[in-house]
């Protein structure tokens, strides 16, 4: 779990998990932590925590290509949760995690409540994993394809089942594709989640005007990158206010479009205790190191002793 590390102004603590930086690699954009390490002078250890790609019980082939398209200030993806399944993950990828002195968060998907419970149990037994993030944006095949995460009752059931299957901290990852995010957040909190992360990608489509067909093979996909940042800031702030009003101790991991240190700080000021970065690392793989340095300087110049002093520090216009 948390490894030996010197506390600095960047250190944060999330439900007992110590991170050396508030920056976390977002699920699906960092594989199983092997790939960025191909780059000279890149170090996984510059990242506070690494969220692994979503893993399901059985392998998933994913969608046919094209799976990605660039949009104004963002990208649209429809990877389709391609992953090797839990058994192959344990055999081929897990042993490689041990090399790195950083924190790993698993991310799980399932197509039934039962499957979520099973996959959570699998990760519960893996000591390299500090927490389990639950991707509830997957369609519920048993219930006609509606995503668990857009229905408060279904969200409750998934988190409840995961909660019962593990003693590790549980993080509910919320989708922004809902009318009232507070309803989903409340359901996850009632079901016993330890933390909340948001936002996952925003449903979107790009059409080629020459072929009159969507560019993605899957027709629609999930929008990420700077384009969704203001949406994410708003949702983080709303969930933060809900949690604060009820005096709950549920840290928020904010994400969506972080490219600069200012973006990261904006999330923290809006109420996030830590932030995840995905798309931004495609642009600049050294984004973690760059933002770490700039936040450190920001804290020093503004005489702030640590990140926690900034969390939720926004004051609304009355």
């Amino acid at each position: 779990m948390s490894k030996k590390s010197k506390a600095t102004s960047l250190s944060v603590k999330l439900k007992g998990i110590k991170l050396t930086s508030p920056l976390i690699a977002a699920s699906g954009t960092f594989g199983f932590a092997e790939d960025f390490e191909r780059i000279e002078s890149f170090s996984n250890e510059d990242i506070g925590a690494i969220t692994l790609k979503s893993v399901s019980m059985l392998p998933m082939a994913g969608n046919p290509p094209p799976r990605i398209v660039e949009t104004p200030a963002g990208i649209l993806n429809s990877i389709g949760l391609q992953n090797p399944g839990i058994q192959e993950f344990k055999a081929a990828h897990l042993p490689k995690l041990r090399k790195y002195n950083t924190v790993f968060i698993a991310n799980i998907v399932g197509f039934s409540i039962d499957e979520y419970a099973k996959i959570a149990k699998e990760f519960d037994g893996i000591k390299e994993i500090a927490a389990i993030e639950v991707n509830i944006s997957c369609p519920n095949v048993k219930k006609g394809g509606i995503a668990f995460g857009t229905d408060p009752k279904q969200s409750y059931k998934v988190i409840e089942a995961v909660r019962k299957s593990t003693s590790k901290p549980v993080i509910a990852k919320l989708t922004p594709n809902v009318t009232e995010i507070i309803d989903i957040a409340r359901a996850c909190i009632d079901a016993g989640t330890d933390m909340i992360s948001l936002i996952n990608t925003v449903n979107a489509m790009v059409i080629d005007i020459n072929t009159k067909k969507p560019v993605l093979f899957n027709n629609n996909g999930g929008l990420s990158g700077p384009a969704i940042k203001p949406v994410a800031i708003y949702q983080v702030n709303r969930v933060y206010n809900y949690i604060r009003e009820r005096k709950l101790a549920i840290p928020i991991i904010g994400m969506g479009g972080i490219l600069t240190f200012e973006d990261a700080l904006e999330f923290i000021i809006a109420g996030a205790s830590a932030v995840s970065i995905g798309t931004g690392s495609f642009y600049d793989p050294f984004i973690y190191k760059r933002i770490n340095a700039k936040i450190t300087e920001y804290l020093r110049v503004n005489k702030i002793s640590g990140i926690s002093g900034l969390v939720g520090s926004v004051t609304m216009n009355s």
Binding site: G28, T29, F30, G31, E34, D35, F36, E37, R38, I39, E40, S41, F42, K53, A61, G62, P64, P65, P66, R67, I68, V69, E70, A73, G74, I75, N77, I79, Q82, G225, P226, L259, T260, F261, E262, D263, T279, S281, F282, Y283, D284, P285, F286, R290, K294
Partner: protein, 314 residues
Amino acid sequence: MQKTIISERAHVLRKTVINERYFKLKVRVSKSAFNHASPGHFAYVLCSQEITGRKNRTFEDYKELKNYLRSDSDSILQSQLILRRPLCIHDAYMRKEKGKEQYIFEFLVRKKRSGTALLAKLDKGDTLELLAPIGRPYGYERSVKEKRDVIIAAGGMGIAPLVFLCRKLGENGILPVIFFGFEEAFALNQGSSMDDDLKALSKSFTITSNTIIEDEYEKGFVTDTLAKHLRGLAPKAVKNTDIYACGPYLMLKEVAKIADEFGINCEISLEERMGCGIGACMACVCKMKNNDGFKYKRVCIDGPVFNSKEILFE
């Protein structure tokens, strides 16, 4: 994990405009990027002018621009194209400049839309942020070791990685037979020495086109000339031949079919849209054969070069 991908700010030494669609960029890279580079590798480049363009703007060095903005702001990054663009290493070599070794990459670029249009604005003195070299290159070293005959089949922009390949083969005493087909005014001779380079680096250099009619060009598809050539070879010569190909999907599918018919080992470079460019996101996959079904492999790291027998063409 071996750290073989270098992230660096390359210096643009020269831009050569071939015509309104095509240009070449010659950049200076580090010794380490050069040493890791092999034919078939690509570079993943940032296209955003504000960062990589004039006045040497880069992540660390865009102070000038900041003066227009709030001091200390990073927000200029937000107006940029998010994705990098993959470009094959068209050529790579070392040269001596005033007694000092310089390591050079060349890129041959076809202007498509936003990103490549921005790259076209780069010029001498500018910088280019790149991650390179990336991917699985051509297995030409085996051809060298086993003293094989090499055929190169290129279609259109598929010529891009093959000049570097010819150079490496040449350094090892192999002169390939080149078949090059194109349908769009490529103007090999205008302001570009590629034509001469390729002639010097090959046993024969045959150009085919259906649309551009010149006395010295063959009419038809590059795959027609390739098949004709193979039919003219003695069985023993066919057996000792390797094919390296790059080009449009349908051409590659045909090349793979021909290679299969003649029982020739053939390596093909594929293209797919990329996200991270380094293996992490699973955006860039292509279908590969797997028992009776298929599996997806990443073009960026498992490729871009694959054995033609592996690829499940559709």
